[in-house]
Amino acid sequence: MSDQDGKPSPPQPSLLEESAEDLYENAPCGYLSALPGGMILKVNQTFLAWTGYRREDLAGRKRFYELLTAGGRIFHETHYAPLLQMQGTVRELALDLVCADGHRLPVLINSVLRKDEDEKPLLIRTTVFNATDRKEYERELLRERQRAEQASQTKSDFLAMISHEIRTPLNAITGVAHLLGQTDLSPQQQKLVRILGSSSGNLLHLVNQILDFGKIEAGKMSLEERSVDLRQLVREVAESFEPRAQAKGLALLVHVDERVPRTVAGDPMKLGQVLSNLAGNAIKFTSEGSVILALGVRTIEPEAVSIDFRVSDTGIGIAPDRLARIFDDFTQANYDIGLTYGGTGLGLSISRKLVEMHGSRILVASEPGKGTTFSFELRFKTVAEAETAPAQALVTSGLEGLEVLVADDNEVNVFVLTGLLKGWGVAFDVVSNGRQAVERVRARDYDLVLMDLRMPELDGYAATREIRSLPGERFAKLPIFALSASTRMAHQHEIDAAGFNEFVGKPISPDVLFGKMARYAPARHATAPR
């Protein structure tokens, strides 16, 4: 449009208004104006066309959030509304509108809060974009992610299953190595047996770590709460590492703050595992000097205590730039570490996760060449001493003359187990299923039963339940140990419910089994401590 001079003339105001109106009504997005409380004042034609509402259904009648699904309404009120009030704007919020015919329209909304001069909210102006296509892509993306996660999960499950299967033959190897070591051997053979024993021990440790890791990853591990003697726990850990420390000429010291309460409520297995991991690492990476396990008290309250756990060494230390990554999964401080010292880097990441389950964090301070200190602080409820079970006779008694029933259908297990029992002078009978076990127990007054959990005909749980339900006090009191290649945690509940007295994990550690059997050995068999 131009006048005769060729200059453009200004369009008439009415035309401008009309085109603005047209732009508003038919824009490729929905427009919606509402009062600060949400009451809709005005909507454009595009919004009406998308949703199927009539103008008179909405303006002055409905609040914006009333057009949302119930779930979307919660999101609107907990996210959109506060954000809009604090920021003055909200961008790209994804919501579903419920249309007049009930179908759902995925939209993205942008809102601006208009305020008057006194900062008082006047109006909410919202732009609505149709997000049907985008939603479809998002769904696809989510589906693919779930598929990928599932594939990863399947592999983890497979790894756990394989690790589990490896434990059964490992049971035989470590057991046989132990028995072989007790026979007459030439020095050369003794050396070979030692290597066999330590290598299978290492392999077992690795397999256990993989299983633990998988369990933590899958969220299948939970904390138990029972009374723990922290002082004893830390001493036991130290004792178990004493041979390794001695072999390296290291001083392994335990420092316990006198104020550490006798008993607290905690999870002894997982605490022991963390301390063992840290102590094992400390000894591994220290060639001279000392390793110290220390328990300190941060705060004491009437019913709770904060304990500072600390494992320090005078070892090689960790370079500052590596410190941050040492807790990551499958990570060692550097490649050479794996070559020189072995290991998978799983220990620290498991320890980190176990401490995190307690709501805390492992801290590390280190100076290359000087040493490293790992520490974490945990809060426990204190347990009144009277509540703790009376300590069972912990005196190491001999087992000679004890009469034991072994119920296990796996020949190799039986071979290993009975080899140990023979060595300790224990008399035994062997049965290969739970049914026979119940019959033998009825017929004969055994001192103790070692019961595999997985057996044909009647499994260990059912057999134990049946024995416990037999009339007569001796069936209630008869010590029955559960034997299993699964970890205790996996079956804790069923084991307790069935009425087992103890759990012994396979591969069987001779010391552990001996210790537990000695605890239950009746006095008539106890011999003087060695």
Binding site: T69, A70, G71, I74, F75, E77, T78, V90, A94
Partner: protein, 263 residues
């Protein structure tokens, strides 16, 4: 670990004053109290914090097991109180934090002087005669909303980076965005919040309590506020003119006045 860092505890107000602990609800962080706390600074010691998973809390402290019930959040509140050695606490809890405050006050009633419950609900799901306002399917719908909004493409919940030439004083705050939440945690917190049932805990409250109920609250409808009032012995109910679920943001003056009258 340091509790104050874990929960991003911020202290202000009169150091020797009676402590007021403000707890934010689901979907937000301590920023949501920004219009309310200044009114109490002269007289009270103001304690602000973020629940673990929200705002600037320590995300690594999040533990699925601990926070699988509101009790885990309540124990955090008590830990903060212990750490700061707070007594005669006035606890102001919005939305789900009202229930969290109830749990905390039931565990250590001697520590609390008063509870101010803003838009409380002991149970969001309808159950028999009880009207909570929502069904389980509705909560699944909320989780869907969360998923679509936290997915990479949606910028709503991501840090907002934008210039504010006309209001430079807001600049730095906006770049950090309000109400940041870790997506996975938000999902879990949503589930724990909206599927929780603390109806048995409210009647056990021994601390004097104020229930602030908005008119037309889509999350905690009026009948729920009245239920809370009936079930907390000796509680006071104030029906506010403010609409919506966040009167602390939409009507700070009215909220402040109601709290001041009560205290």
């Amino acid at each position: 670990m340091n509790v104050l860092q874990r929960n991003n505890v911020q202290l202000s107000g009169r150091a020797t004053g009676q402590p007021m602990v403000f707890a934010h609800g689901f979907g937000c962080d301590q920023n949501m109290w920004r219009f309310v706390t200044p009114a109490f600074e002269d007289e009270y010691r103001i304690v602000l914090f973020d629940h673990v998973g929200a705002g600037r809390s320590d995300l690594s402290a999040y533990n699925q097991a601990k926070y699988s019930s509101l009790q885990g959040y309540a124990s955090d509140v008590l830990e903060i109180c212990r750490e700061l050695d707070l007594t005669r606490v006035v606890f102001v809890g919005h939305s789900v934090s009202a229930a969290i405050g109830v749990l905390a006050a039931n565990e250590e009633p001697e520590r609390f002087d008063a509870l101010v419950l803003v838009g409380p609900s002991p149970c969001y799901i309808d159950d028999g005669d009880y009207v909570g306002g929502f069904s389980r399917e509705d909560i699944e719908g909320l989780l869907e909303s969360l998923d679509s909004n936290y997915l990479g493409w949606s910028s709503a919940m991501a840090p907002v980076i934008m210039g504010n030439p006309d209001r430079p004083e807001l600049g730095t705050e906006l770049t950090n965005s309000f109400c940041r939440t870790d997506p996975a945690i938000a999902r879990h917190f949503a589930r724990v919040t909206f599927l929780s049932d603390n109806r048995a805990d409210f009647p056990k409250v021994k601390v004097r309590s104020l229930v602030l109920q908005c008119s037309e609250d889509a999350i905690a409808p009026r009948c729920v506020g009245e239920y809370v009032h009936r079930n907390i012995p000796g509680s006071e109910l104030v029906l506010m003119n403010a609409t919506g679920h966040c009167p602390n943001l939409s009507a700070p003056e009215e909220t402040i006045a109601a709290i001041q009258r009560f205290l």
